[in-house]
């Protein structure tokens, strides 16, 4: 093994070639990283929901709410993932008007993605309930913990 390593070291030293230490990152890499983060997030939420179930945490209401929150976050990640994809595919000329969107309009017949884009952009309808379930679950657990601590005392 030492001989092989020594040979390779000598070979690489004696036959120099240009190296590219820094790799350039083009435009889509940011989107890809974001999409991969969505995938990781969604998988972790499903994993957590399964773990809570398999460890019998969900017998308590608080943990059940957190499990629901996990499922909703999983769905939201799928929606967001698709939304980003559709946004890229949708030509910008299909949106008429300038500004923040209050006075903008979308040409639904302009692309097969137009209709998906319209609904997928309203992802808060899933994201907010997911967060609300987490909040309610934590509040429930807190109340129960307070009672348990008081009972222990």
């Amino acid at each position: 093994m030492i001989r092989i390593i020594t040979f390779l070291a000598l070979y690489s030293y004696l036959t120099p070639e240009p190296v590219y230490a820094l790799q350039s990152h083009g435009e889509p890499e940011g989107l890809f990283a974001h999409q991969i983060a969505h995938i990781l997030f969604s998988v972790s939420m499903i994993f957590l929901a399964y773990w809570l179930k398999s460890n019998n945490f969900t017998r308590e209401r608080g943990w059940r709410l957190i499990q629901i929150s996990c499922i909703l976050f999983f769905i939201w990640n799928l929606v967001a993932f698709c939304g980003h994809y559709v946004e890229v595919k949708l030509p910008s000329k299909l949106i008429e008007g300038t500004g923040s969107g209050w006075d903008q309009a979308l040409l639904l017949s302009g692309s097969p993605y137009s209709l998906y884009y319209y609904f997928l952009k309203m992802d808060h309808l899933i994201c907010v309930p997911a967060l609300a379930c987490l909040f309610l679950g934590l509040r429930n657990l807190y109340k129960k913990t307070l009672m348990k601590v008081a009972a222990d005392k």
């Binding site: 983060a37 990781l40 997030f41 972790s44 939420m45 773990w51 309009a105 979308l106 319209y118 609300a132």
Partner: protein
């Protein structure tokens, strides 16, 4: 569905949703934080706090960015939004990865934490158990020590207070411990002189006893009531019943022996004396019968002989023959009288006798002869010796017999010690006559009082002296005993009981 559709619903959901996310995420952080504070050691609440924080970070990034985006676009600064947009996107990505990371790692961490907590609980329980055990152990040790102390005192009391000898021997049969009775029996003053220095072999008188002991103990591991003779430090022989056993059950690993020795010397001596007394009593009856039967014919022979002598002149040849018959008949009559004395059938005339005076009269008969032959007679008389109620003449005869015997036992110069004293309970007078003569063997001692038994040459003695003495002393309710060692000398002890009157004469204050 072919025309333009307003994006106002999307705008509304975005703005309202962003605002709600901000509020709810802070609410979630609030409760997660409170949970964490309620149970700081819980890893689950820690996880939920991190998860809530990451989601709040995401919510802030997303909601603020979305609200700012709308504000910037409405205000006509789209380039500013283009500037901030990559930052918010990157921050969201990081928040997702953080949430995913802590979520993926949480079960593992929770498992490790759970194991640590279980171990901690087990450790705490073990500590409590050990403390309780320690507490109980102290009490248990204290209780057992108390029991042990009681037991030790009990067995030490048995050991120390036993009237029999109790001892412990090591593997080489050397004494490791012995009780005070045993130490006293063997004649030692302190344990230091005895323990570890004296072995069982040292005290056995006979090698055959020692060999028998070793054979029995190696064969069966125990010895019960083995009668053997031992010797104490002053050389006196004792008869003991020896019982020894090994202290371990495994005979191949015997390390110690525990034994008990019961001193039966006095019992054996008493048995021997009783046996001798029985034998002598039986002999006395026989002798008395023979004496009675011989006494009459001897009297007739003597009478007729004397009648014939009266009618016979001294010059007559028959006269000398009749004289011989008369002399021998008188000898026979004396022997018969001695036999009767031995059988205690002779008459006794008792009165208060001063033993010292009695002795002086006895010694006056041949004192000068003793001096001439180099035998010194030493007297050791206790002061105020009471008189005894006895036949003075017969006692004198006894003293003469014993003194003559003592003198004959001494060849050449010697010493005779005559001691007179009260016995320990002061109910009898003991007269002891010791000599440093040739002494007697055990066999001789056993037969010394038998009639006609003598160690003297034929013609020197009849063998009735000690028998007669024995009979006289027995007739006085006393005892005649002998101690003798070959080559060392002999001692005769005469025990004469005091009558109540004699006893009161010693202690007049006792009279009530």
């Amino acid at each position: 569905m072919t025309g333009y559709y307003s994006l106002a619903p999307v705008w509304i959901s975005d703005v309202v949703g962003s605002a709600l996310m901000l509020i709810i995420s802070f609410g979630a952080i609030y409760y997660a934080h409170r949970l964490r504070n309620a149970e700081p050691s819980s890893i689950i609440w820690m996880y939920l706090l991190v998860l809530s924080a990451a989601l709040a970070g995401f919510s802030i990034s997303r909601a603020v960015a979305h609200l700012a985006k709308h504000a910037m676009l409405m205000a006509g600064y789209p380039h500013m939004w283009e500037f901030f947009r990559p930052y918010t996107g990157a921050f969201n990505s990081i928040a997702f990865i953080v949430v995913a990371s802590v979520t993926f790692f949480f079960p593992k961490v929770q498992k490790i934490n759970s194991e640590i907590l279980n171990d901690k609980r087990a450790l705490e329980q073990a500590t409590r158990d050990i403390k309780a055990l320690n507490r109980d152990l102290e009490a248990l040790v204290e209780r057992r020590t108390r029991q042990l102390s009681v037991s030790e005192r009990k067995y030490r009391g048995i050991f120390e207070g036993s009237m029999d000898t109790i001892f412990v021997l090591n593997q080489k049969f050397i004494f490791e411990d012995i009780n005070p009775t045993g130490l006293s029996l063997l004649g030692y003053d302190s344990l230091e002189d005895f323990i570890g220095k004296i072995s069982l072999a040292d005290i056995f008188v006979s090698n055959s006893d020692h060999t028998q002991f070793l054979e029995d103990i190696s064969r069966s591991g125990a010895i019960k009531d083995m009668e053997c003779r031992i010797r104490n430090s002053s050389g006196a022989e004792l008869v003991v019943l020896l019982s020894v056993t090994v202290t371990t059950k495994d005979l191949s690993r015997r390390t110690n022996y525990v034994g008990i020795a019961k001193d039966i010397t006095v019992r054996r001596r008493m048995e021997k004396q009783l046996h001798q007394a029985d034998r002598l009593a039986s002999l006395g009856q026989t002798a008395a019968g023979v004496a009675h039967e011989l006494n009459t014919p001897l009297g007739i022979i003597l009478g007729y002989t004397q009648l014939l002598l009266r009618n016979c002149q001294e010059s007559d040849a028959l006269h000398s023959d009749l004289k011989i018959i008369e002399k021998q008949t008188n000898n026979c009559k004396r022997i018969v009288q001695d036999l009767l004395k031995f059988a205690r059938n002779s008459e006794t005339k008792k009165s208060d006798v001063d033993l010292i005076e009695c002795f002086k009269e006895a010694i006056s008969l041949f004192g000068h002869q003793f001096e001439k032959e180099g035998v010194i007679v030493e007297t050791r008389f206790e002061n105020n010796l009471p008189k005894v109620f006895a036949d003075g003449e017969k006692l004198k005869q006894v003293l003469v017999n014993l003194l003559v015997n003592a003198k004959q036992a001494i060849s050449g110069n010697g010493l005779i010690i005559v001691t007179m004293k009260l016995n320990p309970d002061r109910r009898a007078v003991i007269v002891s006559i010791s000599d440093n003569g040739c002494g007697m063997s055990t066999d001789t001692v056993e037969k010394i009082f038998d009639p006609f038994f003598t160690t003297k040459p034929v013609g020197v003695g009849t063998g009735l002296g000690l028998s007669v003495s024995y009979g006289i002393i027995q007739a006085h309710g006393g005892a005649l005993e002998v101690e003798s060692e070959e080559g060392v000398g002999s001692t005769f002890h005469i025990t004469l009981p005091l009558t109540d009157q004699n006893h009161q004469n010693i202690y007049p204050d006792n009279l009530q």
